[in-house]
Symmetry: C2
DNA sequence: CAGCATCCCCGCAGATACTG
DNA sequence: CAGTATCTGCGGGGATGCTG
């Protein structure tokens, strides 16, 4: 994910899509966030129900704690994920989608579903491609 | 993009994450390809008309020749982009979308449009978020 | 439990040079 | 023109250790 947005590096240098002078159109960053490796999975999981941190971590599987944290923070900052930290001991934090997040999740889900549905064709294309140069 | 699939590692390095051999679902790679920095822009440009290599390069803007080549090769291998190399001198190569590519482009375009349309809300959310911790 | 801080590796992507 | 080949940096992200 282009999570480290504030740490000064980000997205692609765009050409004619670079409306600001910064090298990257801002919406590209959001696209980057929602389509990022863990962003996709987080959005899809949370579109079913809310999760606690570790619970979400287990649900996704093999995501490092660091990356899950970063992903959630980025999505929260973008207003896609709602973070509800209850002041109890031990700490309990629930994550859910905002309305905006639900829209994003749906988009991502559609795209994700499309790729799954077309995998057969893609793999066939790959075989043809690879074979043609062996 | 994790373009260099043939050179043994892909997008999000398959080997790196896919330790158990079943970790990364294959469709994730296609998603990665179409939503990659240059993948998105290539699909959107080509959804309007076909382009020659350098022409496409200029249209997109600050993409290095190397990255454009890699992106086009990956998308071609996935069966999304059609490459038509005419045997003339000087060389002329036309790139266009396949039917599958057109479907992908439409998906990406939708997602891309959504992010642009929601940027105001996202930026508002960011201000709120940032302010709450200053 | 839910994180933050630190270290460190390696692979993406930019720059440069060369070819058919 | 449309690529290929090679070198290099630097930052993403996994691993580990610590805190409230």
């Amino acid at each position: 994910m282009g999570v480290s947005e504030r740490s000064a590096r980000v997205g692609p240098p765009a050409g004619k899509y670079d409306l600001d002078g910064e090298g990257t159109c801002p919406s590209r960053l959001v696209l980057e966030h929602v389509t990022s490796r863990w962003g996709v999975l987080v959005l899809i999981e949370l579109s079913e129900r809310s999760y606690r941190f570790s619970e979400l971590r287990r649900a996704i599987g093999r995501v490092s704690e660091k990356m899950l944290t970063q992903t959630l923070q980025t999505l929260e900052r973008d207003g896609l994920v709602h973070r509800d930290a209850k002041p109890v001991i031990p700490p309990r934090v629930d994550y859910s989608l905002t309305d905006l997040g639900r829209e994003a999740a749906e988009q991502v889900r559609t795209l994700s579903t499309w790729t799954r549905d077309r995998m057969a064709e893609v793999e066939e294309a790959r075989r043809t491609y690879d074979e043609a140069r062996a």
